[in-house]
């Protein structure tokens, strides 16, 4: 009788410990995904790319969480991927967008032309990795920014720092995107979404290859071809330019020298 009592008691302890663990905000159960996704569907942030939306947890970018983007090179569409989401966020909220340690200048006229209100954009130029982390944390803590784009020094970046950023992002209700080089994909990360961007091989030049390395509620997805808006428009322009040149040549005018 006594033995039986202790046994039950022990089980109770184990169960209560498990309950506590399950209540932890970083832990979720696969069976809850559908439920949470249904809840989040109302509040998600569309990426602007239907093919990508369909694959993401809650059908879009997380409104409070860490996303990692690993572009192959600069200029492979890493910003364009975010622009529709940022536009949507700016329209919905009055909070700001912060760029921490950007490698180049985010060009204000170009942002304006893409419907991003530059009045609500600010850049932070930290002098070192420590300052960059401090600034990122303060921005998240303040809750005054809805989106934050961060470039960090890969060599000094540690997993625990990312973990801290991830928790702060939840608290500050901010969508934070960290840009890391391609080789960081072998490292583990607490980010809830990791994407790598590669330019498409040869002939279809207006596309990028996007791979989902990690996502909530699903397996990684390799090589998703994505047609970026800008590339589309550009290819259309190129077509018109080609026609125009053809027309000039037909009318024996001097062609435009490249």
């Amino acid at each position: 009788m006594y033995l039986k009592y202790t046994y039950v008691h022990k089980i109770r302890i184990v169960v209560s410990g498990l309950q506590a663990l399950l209540k932890h905000k970083d832990i979720w159960r696969a069976e809850d995904i559908a439920e949470i996704a249904a809840y989040q569907r109302r509040t998600n942030l569309p990426t602007g790319f239907t093919a990508l939306d369909r694959l993401l947890y809650g059908n879009g970018w997380p409104r409070d969480g860490l996303v990692e983007i690993l572009p192959e090179v600069h200029g492979c569409g890493e910003l364009q991927l975010l622009i529709p989401g940022l536009c949507c966020l700016m329209g919905e909220e009055t909070r700001w967008i912060a760029w921490v340690n950007p490698p180049f200048v985010p060009y204000a006229p170009a942002l304006n032309a893409r419907d991003i209100d530059v009045n609500r954009v600010f850049l932070v130029h930290p002098k070192n990795h420590r300052e960059a982390l401090w600034a990122t944390e303060k921005i998240l803590e303040s809750g005054s920014c809805s989106a934050i784009l961060v470039w960090l020094d890969e060599q000094q970046l540690e997993e625990k720092q990312l973990r801290r950023i991830q928790t702060r992002a939840k608290e500050g209700r901010a969508w934070i995107t960290i840009f890391r080089p391609m080789h960081a994909q072998v490292k583990s990360s607490p980010a809830e979404l990791r994407l790598s961007l590669r330019l498409a091989e040869t002939h279809t030049k207006d596309q990028v290859n996007l791979s989902i390395l990690k996502r909530k509620g699903g397996w990684p997805v390799p090589n998703l071809s994505l047609q970026l808006h800008e590339y589309q428009a550009l290819s259309a322009n190129t077509r018109i330019a080609a026609q125009w040149q053809q027309w000039r040549q037909q009318h024996s005018l001097a062609g435009v020298k490249h």
Partner: protein
């Protein structure tokens, strides 16, 4: 007329002690001419008497703290309290050494009643480190008597003039003559004659009094009853704010600076409130024992008036700086102020209740400035210029940005400008690129920085889409279509 007289009985002691918080509970006395002039409660409980010599007092309480009375400092300090009173009424008069007089009949409606004014005034003074006795009456002279006697009449929130007058005079009758402004010799004389209370003096026929006392006594009596007008010299807060605290003992550590710093900021906030201004730049000076001075300026993104944030950002800027070992004096100056009405920042209630609000981006920027330096962040601003590098500029002053920034009238097609721009064009070889589109000629600025370039969109070998241009100096890359 409704007069408040604020009497600060322990002001002399409070200014001597206000950098030290702990000593308040210890017995302390203020000494003038080798005699105990004022003392705190602890000293009173220990049995020290006013007017006794320092030696007698110390023999009673060996650990007694005594401070010499500094009339000049008291004088200056009373003037510093003007902004606090000025928030309630523009009619503020000083009466040295320890009294402030306020005429508040015009402010009753704004502050929703007399009792509110008294409460707020007391609270503000307590925050500044003073215990105040407030007297309310129909003339400044009677209000002064009430304040000194620490005797309050409970008026309604909106009393009418006749009631104030009758109730004040009635109450005055019961008070001792020792609270009057009369000469001590006169008061002594009256005591000897058996006249102890105001009532007894006021009931006597004036003609007989004139024969026995000087005309000052009669003038005082008519001032009490209101028969003789008592013109006041109203004061206004200073036009600039500078305040210094000299510490009695040097402070060795930054955390100890918090208390005197807070004191200075409180003073500044009161001044700002009275002037309806916000501070844009505050300058701190810390002077060490060896006369070495450290100056630290705090700049704010918009005019600020709230104590918490000014103090917080000051401390943040301090945290990054090395201070001298032993700080002897602190100085705070409002080096740049701006009107609150213009900035639209006056959203708090006028009663001085500054509620907590969510962090604004401006607060965040101030925090970054304080810790990482003023050039640690910038805002973007686009301009109407064809030259790519002149079509935007960084702005690090939040106030000027709104004036400048606008959507340029030259509409740029969404895809013709890259998202990444190089701060300085990069020299490249044209053979590394496959030209996709162009040229687009940009030619402008012949009057200053001439630009004459053919822009192309090209793809680098690596696959990146680049913005290139060709001019007389060769090929350059100016950005990425990221």
């Amino acid at each position: 007329m409704l007069w408040l007289c604020v009497h600060l009985p322990l002001m002399g002691l409070e200014i001597a002690q206000y950098s030290q918080d702990l000593t308040k509970r210890k017995p302390a006395v203020l000494v003038a001419d080798q005699k105990v002039y004022r003392m705190n409660e602890a000293a009173q409980e220990a049995g020290i008497l006013l007017g006794s010599s320092v030696a007698t007092a110390t023999s009673l309480v060996p650990e007694l703290l005594h401070y010499r009375r500094d009339r000049e400092a008291e004088h200056k300090h009373l003037e510093k309290l003007v902004p606090i009173a000025y928030r309630f009424t523009p009619r503020v008069a000083l009466s040295f050494p320890y009294d402030l007089k306020l005429e508040v009949s015009g402010s009753l409606k704004l502050f929703e009643g007399l009792n509110n004014i008294v409460q707020h005034l007391k609270r503000s003074l307590a925050k500044a480190g003073h215990t105040a006795q407030i007297g309310i009456a129909h003339t400044p002279a009677v209000a002064r008597v009430f304040a000194h006697a620490h005797s309050v009449i409970a008026f309604t929130d909106y009393p009418d003039e006749a009631t104030i007058r009758s109730e004040s005079l009635e109450h005055l009758h019961t008070l001792s003559l020792k609270y009057s402004e009369l000469k001590t010799t006169d008061v002594e004389c009256m005591f000897n004659m058996g006249i102890r209370f105001f009532g007894e003096l006021l009931d006597l026929p004036r003609g007989e009094l004139r024969q026995r006392f000087s005309s000052d006594v009669l003038r005082y009596l008519s001032r009490l009853t209101g028969e003789l007008a008592e013109p006041q010299q109203y004061v206004a807060p200073a036009t600039q704010f500078t305040s210094i605290i000299h510490l009695l003992e040097p402070l060795l550590d930054k955390p100890f600076l918090r208390k005197p710093m807070e004191q200075l900021v409180i003073e500044m906030v009161h001044w700002l409130q009275s002037k309806q201004l916000g501070v844009v730049e505050a300058t701190w000076q810390f002077t060490a024992t060896d006369a070495q001075t450290i100056t630290i300026s705090c700049r704010f993104a918009y005019p600020r008036i709230d104590l918490q944030s000014i103090l917080e950002f000051s401390e943040l800027s301090l945290s990054e700086r090395k201070l001298p070992q032993e700080v002897l004096s602190l100085r705070l100056e409002a080096t740049q102020v701006a009107s609150l009405a213009k900035a639209g920042a006056l959203t708090k209630d006028l009663m001085g209740g500054y509620e907590v609000r969510p962090v604004l981006p401006e607060d965040l920027l101030d925090r970054l400035t304080a810790r990482l330096g003023p050039d640690s962040w910038e805002l973007l601003c686009s301009h109407d210029d064809h030259r790519p590098e002149f079509a935007w500029s960084p702005v690090s002053d939040h106030s000027t940005r709104h004036k400048k920034s606008h959507h340029p009238s030259t509409e740029i097609a969404a895809n013709s400008r890259p998202l990444w721009l190089f701060a300085r064009p990069l020299s490249v070889k044209s053979k590394d690129f496959e030209i996709l589109q162009g040229p687009v000629r940009i030619e402008d600025g012949w009057w200053e920085d001439r630009v004459q370039r053919d822009y192309f969109i090209g793809r680098h070998e690596s696959g990146a889409l680049c913005w290139l241009f060709n001019d007389e100096y060769g090929w350059f890359q100016h950005g990425y279509f990221a």
